[in-house]
Every structure is written in C-alpha cells, then in structure tokens.
C-alpha cells in the first residue's frame, strides 16, 4: 500500500528524496480522512519553511487543513496541476498528487521520519 521509497510523518505527509531535494505530498490515509479535496493553496516558490511548520493548505468538503513540512527547507517548485485539479490528490496521492518540491536544509532531519512499515504500524495504532 505505502511505497517503500518514501518517508512518512506523523501528520500524514510523505517525502520522496531526490538528491538534495524532496517531493512532498499527503498520504493515502490523509486523503481518505479529508474526503474529496476541492482546493489546494500552494506557497510561492522561494518560500522557506522550518520543520513542522505549515507550508500549504488543502480544503475538502469537510474541512480546511494545513500541510506541514516534515523538514526545514526552501520551496523550489509547486505542482500547478493539483492547483488546477485538486482531485489528483484523491486519485493518486503518492504520485501525480504531489504538492511541492523542497530543497532540504538538513538531511539528518529525515532520520526522525518513518519508513513505510513503521507508518503502517502507526496507522494501526490510530483509533480510526
């Protein structure tokens, strides 16, 4: 279910590492909890963010939720396709539904994140 090559946060974001950069999205669990996503608010390219700071917003029919960056970094690219077609996040959360690309400040922060197996166990521990 959850790809082995991604890192996962307790706030249900995933990171895919490509060299010094990371692609960020929300997990399948997160998109299911949110329901149909109707709007994505993306940051400007060049924005810097601390770890655990809100970096983007997703709105579903039920609620508006912040997306937190699991690591510190600088936004180098945003996915304009999800801004146009937010349902991509519902359809393909770990692929086409990626949200933005970050230049990572300190790669050692990745050690605090979960791998797929741990994330699945973490989900089992949640009530719903």
């Amino acid at each position: 279910m959850y790809p082995e090559n991604l890192y996962y946060s307790q706030d249900h974001e995933w990171l895919k590492i490509e060299g010094e950069e990371a692609i960020l999205g929300i997990t399948d669990f997160a998109q299911k909890q949110l329901g149909d996503i109707i709007f994505v608010d993306l940051p400007a390219v060049g924005k810097t963010v601390e770890a655990h700071q809100a970096i983007a917003t997703v709105e579903s029919v039920k609620s508006v939720s912040d997306i937190y960056s699991p690591v510190a970094g600088e936004v180098v690219q945003v996915n304009q396709e999800v801004a146009q077609t937010p349902e991509l996040i519902n359809r393909d959360p770990h692929g086409q539904g990626w949200i933005l690309r970050l230049k990572i400040k300190d790669k050692s922060e990745l050690n605090k994140l979960m791998k797929a197996g741990d994330y699945e166990k973490f989900l089992e521990g949640l009530e719903h």
Binding site: F39, E87, E127, H128
Partner: protein, 483 residues
Amino acid sequence: MINAIREPLIFEISSPGKTAFKVPALDVPEKKDLLAGVPLRTDIENFPEVSEPEIARHFTRLSQANYCVDLGIYPLGSCTMKYNPKINEKIASLPGLAQAHPLAPEELVQGNLELMKMLEKLLLEITGMEAITLQPAAGAHGELTGMMLIRAYHQAQGNPRKYVLIPDSAHGTNPSSAHICGYTVKEVKSNERGTVSLEDLARLMDEDVAALMVTNPNTLGVFESDICQIADIVHSRGGFLYMDGANLNALAGITRPGDLKVDVMHLNLHKTFSTPHGGGGPGAGPVAVKKILEPFLPVPVIEEKVGFYHLNYQRPQSIGRVRSFYGQFLVAVKALAYILNLGPAGLKEMVETAVLNSNYLRKNLEGLYELKYDTPTLHECVFSDKYQKDYGVTNLDISKRLLDYGLHPPTMSFPLIVHGALMIEPTETESRRDLDLFIEAMKAIAREAKENPEVLRTAPHITYVRRLDEVQAARNPVLRWEK
C-alpha cells in the same frame, strides 16, 4: 411540497412586459431631462418579469421546500438554534424602535439609547465582565473586535506580540480572527478528557503570546474545569484569556466567565438570547471585557449622565469604529426582551433544561453511536459514525437520511478532533416529544445502517431535491443564472 414538480427559477417563469404593479396614468407634464448626466445602468438584462400571483406562489413554494426552526428541531451543535419567541419580533417592530432614524438627535432617541444601556448592564451582570460594546454584528465579528482590543493593549505597552494560542477543538473562526489581526496561530492539544492540555499550554505560553482563545464549554460540550489554572498560565506571561461565548447557553445564570478569570469574550445574541439567525435575521456579537481593556473599546460608547444618554466618540485609545451606526439595534432589542421576559430564574432554567435535553439525547443514543470522549457534557454532545463505518455508512449518510425523517441533521464533521463527528445540540426549547422523535429517527437509522445501508447511502429519498453533488458544487460553483 414533497414529490412535487421542481419549482423553476424565477428567471425561467419570466415573460417580457409582465408586471406585478399598476401605476396611475400620468397627469402632470412629463420631465425627461431630470436624470440627464446621471450615470444609469443599462447592462441589466433578463430581469425577471412576473405577475403578483406568480411571485407570491414562487416564493411560497420555495419556502415550503425549506426547513426552519418553526417546523421542528434544529440540532446544530454550537449554533444554539432555539425557537425564537414571536413576542420579541412584535416588540422589535414597535414604530418607535423599528422606525427610529440612525441620525436622529440624541434628545429624540433617549428611550432607544436607554434600552441599549439596559441590555449592556444585563449582559455584564450575566457574564461578570466590567465593560461592553454592542457594536459587532456577529460572533466572528465579535472575535475580531476582541482580538483587536488585545492587540491595541499590547501595542500600547510597546509590543503587539506575535502568537495566539487556540485549542485543537476550537471553532474555525477563532484562528481566522487571530490571523486577520496579524497573529500567527499555534495549536494547543486536547487531553484524553477532550479539554485543554495544561502541559501543552504551559509549553507554548511565553512573552510572545498575545492571548489564548478558548471556548467554554468547548465544542465537545465539555466544561473546561481547569479554566482558572488555564487563566493563571496565560496571565503569568502577560497574555489575555479570550473566551468564545458561542456556548453560553450552557452557563448563563449558573456561572460567570468574568469570575473564571476571562479577560475578553463575545456573546452571540442570536444563539443564547434567541434572536433569529441563519438567514432569519442579522446576528449580534457584543464584546465584554475587564476594566483593563475598556479604554480600547470601539466608538461610540453609550454613557449616562444624570438621566441623559449620550454617545461618546471622544475616546483617544479606542480601536475606532467596527460597524456603521450602533450595531444591530433591533437584535439588541429582541435579546433584551428575551432576557427581561425570562428573568434571573428563567435564565437559569433555560440553561438547566438545555443541559438536561442534551443529556437525555446522549443517554438514549449511547451505544448506538460512538462517543469518542465519555467525559460528562453540558448543552451538546458529540457522537461519531465509527460504529456505522463497518457498514460503509458515514456521518453524511446519517445526516441525509435524517432529512427523510423530516428532521434537520446535527452539525457534521466538527469538531475536527472527532472523526466523522455528529455534534448535537437540542437546546431547551424542544419538548420531550420532539426529542423522542429525533431519538427514534436516530435509532431507526442505526438499524438501517446494519440491515439496509444502501438506503442511507442514497438518502434523502423523499425531499424536494435528492442528494446534491457537494464536491461539484464546491469545485465548480454556479453562482449566477445565465440564459
């Protein structure tokens, strides 16, 4: 109106030249040049043209397809949709009140000013606060005003501060109000009881924090019993305790926020004090404060000097105006009539009955629907769809099915800390019979979830319109009729 032919839009029944009025023939010389040079709009086309019976029937039919608090229970949690006594409307429509001109000289509207002052005094007595403004036009407007007062105070000390703390169970308007006021919001976690975690609050509270915004009882209907300790933590670092008064229907006449160390709060007259809301009329969100914030209150402030009421605009530290004229005057009149009618004992009974009704519902639905937090609750309770999930039924399906039973659904998917939430607030105005109707419908729906989940997933079946495509409506809203 059920199963009737779908009512067309008013544009669709229009035919050119039809009118619903008739004017007498012109018996004076026609003047055509009076509007010369005045910019006139010419781009409005296809304005509906209908006869009087058509217009009367059109809107009557639409109103019959609607649901309202005059039809039955409206159990929207944290909205306090109680029945609104008609006598208050009658009082507010007295000519001296309804037809008073907002620019009339003070000498001619002394009675109106006196009513406002009287309401101020009563609200201060109910809340235990020390100064008040009736200006804000709604709850969120009250929040914004309250946050502006806090910012003005900190600014006057030389530092407006950076952060506002808000619990994860808060109303969505709280972070918005703080944000609009220039603050960055930090979220305080709830503990296992569903109340503010003192540890998390102490960890987050520092000299950069301007205030904590808390709702009490909170959106789970749980009384924040640590409220005084919460206040002490916030005050120890020079912050203010803001209380969202949306849930005052659980406290009024029993306990006073001012005595619980609250510094600023707003009241929703359209909730607690029974003035219509939700399309039925404008709201009103008076803001009550402790003395320390009084100099910053918006202008005008009503003052009484030897029996004469005066609107004071000369207040150098005031945040200025937050609304034109004097707030929602007629809403204030209705709230005043309501409070005077109930009296102190009546207010207490109002709260006790609201709490009793909520707990009667809770007790009867326990076991059928999940209660994520089993902490005792006051005027509202929050169930979830967890037990129904196994049958592929969500809180949305349950809510839609309630429409088939002729009832308005509760607040859904809020507070956010309860997934699949159904937040029920019956209020004190529901009789035992009305509560039982709701309970029986919820029981039947719990049964249907097991035996015939499809009937829920495709609900509603007997309403004027069937299930609407909410996703499509949000993604591609069509807000204007086009030919």
